[in-house]
């Protein structure tokens, strides 16, 4: 029997998701044994034309990481959708928008201004910005179009499953691959991890007092945190209560609070709004002025509450631009 054909593709991402495939270590040999990889730009020399030449639905599964930021990414995502039986959004960026999704607090113009003009390391007196088409004597040069808004994969194409995480942990990848190979798949649209929030399995949950009540909000960099104690109980913001578990508590074990890369739990649409309503609820202060002060002490609210989820939130981006 022919081995199932598989594609790995990257969109707006950092490359960490590619790295995590390599992190499968010797398990990758099992994967290579079981499947035939037909597209993996980071490692193998297949081109877009090779994919275009395939029959529709001939790929068993495409793992697509990264958010959709440019026209090329959108085209590739649509192409892979056409050619694949299953599409798995691989990692936080394609699942929720991820860190690149935070660009949604700005637009293309602002980003170009900053990246190609304002930064100190840039010298661009003529104000040259990337253009989709550039005429030169030798002919036409083209670049993909840079969109105003970063989108999640499922805002671009139909997605069957989501492998969460920044990046997805190897054990979850292995589980997913095994499930696909064995055909033991959960309902379409499932996030391939547990349903409950991180606190359920967090080793620090035991140290959490029954009643969480905080009177100030601290940043992890401002205090020396006792690695045995729950971050929230100390007033350090940890998104664990609002984030799906299954990540293996990698950050917690490294004495860092959860930042929410696994995304919200099943019923929650807007992770940032949900978590802020939780956090505000444990502020045990009965003075309106004092409450305002505490709220304002939250450093970089969007970057904190929506670190990985801005494009998948209800509003998706900054409005009115």
């Amino acid at each position: 029997m022919a081995k199932p054909l598989v594609a790995f593709y990257w969109c707006a991402s950092c490359g960490g998701c590619e790295e995590t495939v390599v992190d499968l270590a010797e398990d990758i040999l099992k994967v290579v044994d079981a499947v035939d990889i037909r597209l993996w730009p980071v490692a193998l020399d297949f081109k877009r034309a090779d994919v275009e030449a395939m029959a529709d639905k001939s790929l068993a599964v495409s793992f697509i990481n990264g958010a959709i930021r440019t026209s090329e990414q959108e085209e590739m995502a649509k192409l892979l959708r056409k050619k694949s039986e299953l599409v798995v959004a691989f990692g936080a960026c394609s699942h929720l928008g991820g860190i690149p999704g935070l660009a949604n607090v700005a637009n293309k113009k602002e980003i170009f201004e900053t990246a190609y003009k304002m930064t100190r390391s840039t010298v661009n007196p003529k104000g040259v910005f990337p253009k989709t088409v550039t005429e030169i004597p030798q002919g036409k040069l083209t670049l993909p179009e840079f969109y105003d808004t970063v989108k999640t994969l499922d805002q671009t194409i139909d997605v069957d499953y989501y492998l969460p995480g920044c990046a997805p942990p190897p054990d979850l990848i292995m589980q997913a691959v095994t499930a696909i190979l064995e055909g033991k798949l959960p309902p379409k649209g499932s996030v391939l991890t547990v349903d409950k929030a991180l606190c359920e399995t967090c080793p620090l949950n035991k140290s959490k007092p029954d009643k969480l009540a905080i009177k100030e909000i601290k940043r992890i960099s401002e205090v020396i945190h006792d690695p045995e104690k729950c971050f929230l109980a100390e007033g350090i913001i940890c998104l664990g209560p609002a984030t799906r578990g299954g990540c293996g508590e990698r950050c917690i074990n490294a004495n860092m609070p959860c930042r929410g890369c696994f995304g919200p739990t099943k019923e929650v649409k807007d992770m940032g709004a949900k978590f802020l309503s939780s956090l505000a609820s444990i502020i045990d202060v009965d003075d309106e002025k004092e409450i305002e002060k505490i709220a304002e002490s939250v450093f970089d609210p969007i970057g904190l509450f929506y670190m990985y989820t801005l494009p998948s939130s209800i509003l998706r981006r900054k409005q009115g631009v």
Binding site: V105, D195, K196, A197, L198, C199, E200, N205, K208, P209, D210, K211, L212, A213, G240, P241, A242, G245, P264, T265, K266, E267, V268, K269, D270, G272, A273, K274, F275, L276, S277, S278, L279, A280, S281, I282, I283, D284, V285, D286, E288, I291, E292, I294, A295, E296, V298, P301, I302, F305, Y306, S313, I314, L315, R317, K318, Q319, G320, V321
Partner: protein
Amino acid sequence: MKKYALFLGCTVPVRAQHYELSARNVAKELNIEFADMKDASCCGFPLKAVDAETSLLLAARNIGIASKMNLDLITLCNSCTAMLSDAQKQMKNIEYSLNSEVKDIKGQVGNYKINVQTRSRGVIECNNCGKCINVCPVEVDDEGKKRKAIYYVPTYPDMHAIDYDTCTKCGECIKVCQGKIELDHKITEKEISAGAVVLATGLNWYDVSKVEEYGYHRLDGVMTTIEFERAVASGQLKPNKVVIIYCVGSRDSKHLPYCSKICCFLGLKEAKLIKDRFPDTQVYIVAMDMRSYGTFEYFYNKLRELGVSFIKGKPSEVFKRNGNLVVRTEDLYTNELLEIEADTVVLSSGFVPDNPTFDKLGIKLNGDFPVLFENAGLGNTALPRGIFTAGSATFPSGVRDTLIDARKAAFSVLSLFKHDKIETKQPNAQINEDLCSVCRMCIGTCPYNAVSIVDDKIKVNEELCMGCGICSITCPSYAIQLEGFNPRGLFNQIRTLIKKGDILALLCRWSAYNATDKAAYDKYSYPENVKIIRVPCSSAVDPSHVMLALLSGAKGILIGGCYPDACHYAKGNFRARAREQMLKLNLDLLGFNKNIVRLEWIGKDEANKFVEIVEKMNK
């Protein structure tokens, strides 16, 4: 020969003397002796239909007379028999646990388990002969008063007791005791099952050392009311000049914001005590106001006649000069600044609730008496349904108020018997265990301590839950939900209701929502693009709902709640404020005017305020 107390009642002596005659003859034949009951009254039966309580009291009184005679009671009238046996049956259901402390109360209405720890008092049976005191070799100095290690305690039950802190267990008392003494100090625990609990635990004095300017603990001669009474009663203190300072810590935003109601009268009592014992002693009462309401005014006037000086003012400080205490105060009657020298200063303080008892029930008082939560006309919704308070556990009360309050509590308990089943009156929060990660965010945020961890799972105590919905919006996984208040349903509602340019008003059902009703009633008009959704509390508004309304094109979102001190759910509006503030930070960065979301306090009759706000938002 058997002896009985003969209860005749009213009918037998008046209309059926032959009953008495024949009974006496029969008794003689049966070798039974009747003893007359001297002060017997009506058995209570004729009153039963009019006033059940009084009739019971009359019956109990008659039974009491017979038991004082150490006799069983015989009655010749069937109505008397019914009434007296009924009363006796009811009295038998009363169980006292004296010298006892409640360790723990668990459960809910209809099923409370109360763990009571009882300490033995050493004297088991006693006829108050007092011989034990004479032979006891241990002298004890009880705050100025000398007594023995075994001593008479004048409160109920009327008998002696051993002071185990000083008793040497020499056993001398046992040798002379006609009753029964046990020298071992036994501590026993028992569990009582009960359907309802009345808290009549009283109150505590405010800690006057917190009012530092009056020098309690720092200056000799400055004492609390209780210490003063004790010192005078023991004969240790014979003051020449006493200043009684009123309202120590009371009606003071730094200490107790309320008036404790009974201390004015207690202070007057103190003054009377001094004047009775030492008529020549000068007594000054310094008070912001003399609140001798009702008949206490007679008492106040009487003390003025006795020469007690009343000064209107609030002393600024108490200090020592030449070995004397000096109270520095204003006198608003004469507009003078005074310095009164005295040898004794009595601090008459306000009162604070007996927190430990309420803590055991998980009722947060936040330093207030439970009465302060009471929402006029709606009953005390801050307390769970099977718990009642009486007397000073509710609020500092005199005897008269305590009796009224205790009766109210008793009738409230009785009213529970009307029901075969207890239905919880509020919609409850419910847990979806498939989603719950036991992150405990809900526990800390519940104003009623209704959420707790039982066997590693989050549980809601239905009795304590008041249905505010704070937890359901707090839960980061929507794993806890209020019956009849489904956040998902609200999403759909907003999605269909809100069109571009609308104003969404999410209004608390206790205040702001009623204001809109009143607006209609008072014929106020407000823009038709204001879309109103009723919520249990301003804290039951989910920031996600606001986000969705903004996505749908709302040009303003009004969250209406109760004023800060008037939240129906204790602290809900503060939670709402915190959420609103954090939400605004995010909206600002997402390109909205911060004021697109407004959390406003709108009282239930403030229709005009509601209309003003929405009109302003509509511009």
